[in-house]
Amino acid sequence: MSRLVVASIGPASSVQDGGRLGAQRYGLTPSGAMDRLALAAANCLVGNEPFAAGVEIGPFGASFTARDGAVRVALAGAPRNADIAGRAVALDTTVTLKDGETLTLGFARGGAFSYLAIEGAIRGEPVFGSLAVNARAGLGSPYPRPLQAGDEFTVNAASGAPELRIELPKPAEGPIRIVLGPQDDEFDEANKALFLASEWKISATSDRMGYRLEGPAIKHLHGHNIVSDGTVNGSIQVPGNGAPIALMMDRGTSGGYPKIATVITADVGRLAQTSAGTAFRFKQVSMAEAQDEARKFARLIRSLPDRLRSADTVALNIEALHDANVAGYAVNAVDAGTWQVSAEP
């Protein structure tokens, strides 16, 4: 057994997995990774089940040190600089930390959440089948709270398997797709049109519970109180002040504001990765199209193992090169062993 020690970590970072299903009827929200595809990709790289528990890392930096042996990990999700003692580590690849080595992650550059998967996954005591942290309910394992410096995970010693990369489809761009409802009839045509036509920004006060949207005020037809009913990931409710809130993974299981629309499953992770202040729009799609996209999204997750490649088949990681330059690093070499860009400050 090895240990992976959290040497430093910013807020909004916690252990997350596929979520806690089956107890929403008791008021227990599912929680789980904000970007399920990124968690699944990171897990797939290190040979874990797609929704095994990994570390969800918020927009700030973090560093992790291997102790008592080597640890094999993979990073996916929001792009950020990553290095081991100055040796750049690319997103969407595996990397093995030797005993005592530290993986240092910078701030997210675009996006919000990155996922660190650990070979053999994080161990803990599941509640309702999940290790996901739900700080409000005191749930999550091994730590029922956001991570802090000094926390550590007991993990498998690195297998020594060859390093891998994963070829993910280019992230979709364009508007966040929604289907109207369940309470779109609480809004008149003009306000629905305003919702669909406007440019929105995610407020800085957003969190895993909900993303507050900044834009024009959306007015209700009959006031903002409805009798509470159930919510889903991506429900867009409109409270009294007219500023919509997209409910995310730590949402209340029921809510008493009219929900004008619901983000489609395939785009919830994209919304989660929209960083505060970035402008975006919504686009209405039909139920048939939304369900087709949901099925495609599920197929994409199932296909992840087919997208693994040997790390040394990549000629040059253009993205890492580009990322390194963007961050002001002088790229001076391509590591002959891994074909990864190595950079020095």
Binding site: Q24, V227, D229, G230, S254, A290
Partner: protein, 293 residues
């Protein structure tokens, strides 16, 4: 009780009213056997259950591509809530492939499903078919007696509520413990049990300024409801007291005490008893008494 002929005309049901006794006859074989053929008088409660099948069908409201809200009413309505809970049970019994979770609320059932296994239209048909079935005779509901320390530091709004209603705190407590409540739904945070059946004289609009933090175990009233809040958290309701009972406790069996449909009554305890029971509850005791209904 008023009969809505419009609702009846579109159904195979024929309803007889005889000397205040109610007989129901419907195309459904089970109902025939139960009501018409047996010629036994049926209770008002059973009549309402049978009538539920003749009510307008619920609305199917898309909640994204992987959930559908089956809405029986837009208001807080005990009959609608009974239909919600009946559909929830029927759905669990039906074992429809692709359904992942269902969440009953006051007036609607939220059904989560996997669109890779069943589509919106196919699921909608099945849900409407289940919702059109007559309600089964209600199983004996579980009944809980829940101790509450009213007023003082445990119920900081009790005096204000009494003032607003021109009466004494003791009278408010007397009215609150006299109630026979039903768990209409559990939601918002783990174990938060919304109870229907609050006496009309205690109906009060919520606070203008919701509190950001109210204590665990708070017993409060808001609108036409009363509730048991398990975890500390925000609330806009009026705080009458606190119970040592945990409706949610992680390492206890059962983790969740209440289920939608359970009956609940409250009784007053003093603050010293609260402190003792609170310690016992923390150690994993249920404290709540289950009584025969």
């Amino acid at each position: 009780m008023r009969c809505d002929n419009k609702a009846l005309s579109s159904t195979p049901a024929l309803i007889y009213w005889t000397c205040g006794r109610i007989y129901a006859k419907q195309g459904d074989a089970e109902l025939k056997a139960e009501a018409a053929l047996s010629k036994k008088p049926i209770s008002t409660a059973r009549f309402r259950q049978l009538m539920a099948a003749t009510l307008p069908p619920p609305r199917l409201l898309p909640s994204g591509d992987s959930a559908v809200t089956v809405e029986f009413s837009r208001t807080i309505d005990d009959d609608a809530n009974q239909r919600v809970l009946a559909l929830d049970k029927a759905l669990a019994d039906a074992g429809i492939d692709g359904i992942t979770e269902s969440v009953p609320t006051y007036r609607s059932l939220l059904v989560h499903y996997d669109p890779g296994r069943i589509g919106f239209d196919a699921l909608g048909e099945k849900l409407l078919a289940l919702a059109s079935q007559p309600l089964p005779p209600s199983a004996k509901a579980r009944r809980w007696r829940i101790p509450v320390a009213y007023g003082g530091e445990h119920g900081v709004d009790l005096e204000d509520v009494a003032k607003a209603l021109n009466t004494t705190p003791d009278d408010i407590v007397a009215r609150h413990v006299a109630g026979d409540y039903r768990v209409a739904m559990i939601g918002f945070t783990p174990g938060w049990s919304y109870l229907s059946g609050l006496e009309t004289s205690l109906h009060m609009s919520r606070r203008q300024n919701p509190r950001l933090l109210t204590p665990a175990g708070t017993i409060s009233i808001g609108g036409i409801q009363t509730g048991i809040q398990c975890l500390a958290g925000p609330s806009g309701w009026h705080l009458l007291g606190r119970t040592p009972v945990r409706t949610y406790q992680l390492h206890r069996n059962p983790t969740f005490l209440t289920e939608p449909g359970d009956r609940v009554t409250f009784f007053a305890i003093d603050h010293k008893t609260f402190a003792e029971q609170d310690r016992a509850a923390e150690a994993g005791e249920l404290i709540a008494e289950q009584v025969a209904s």
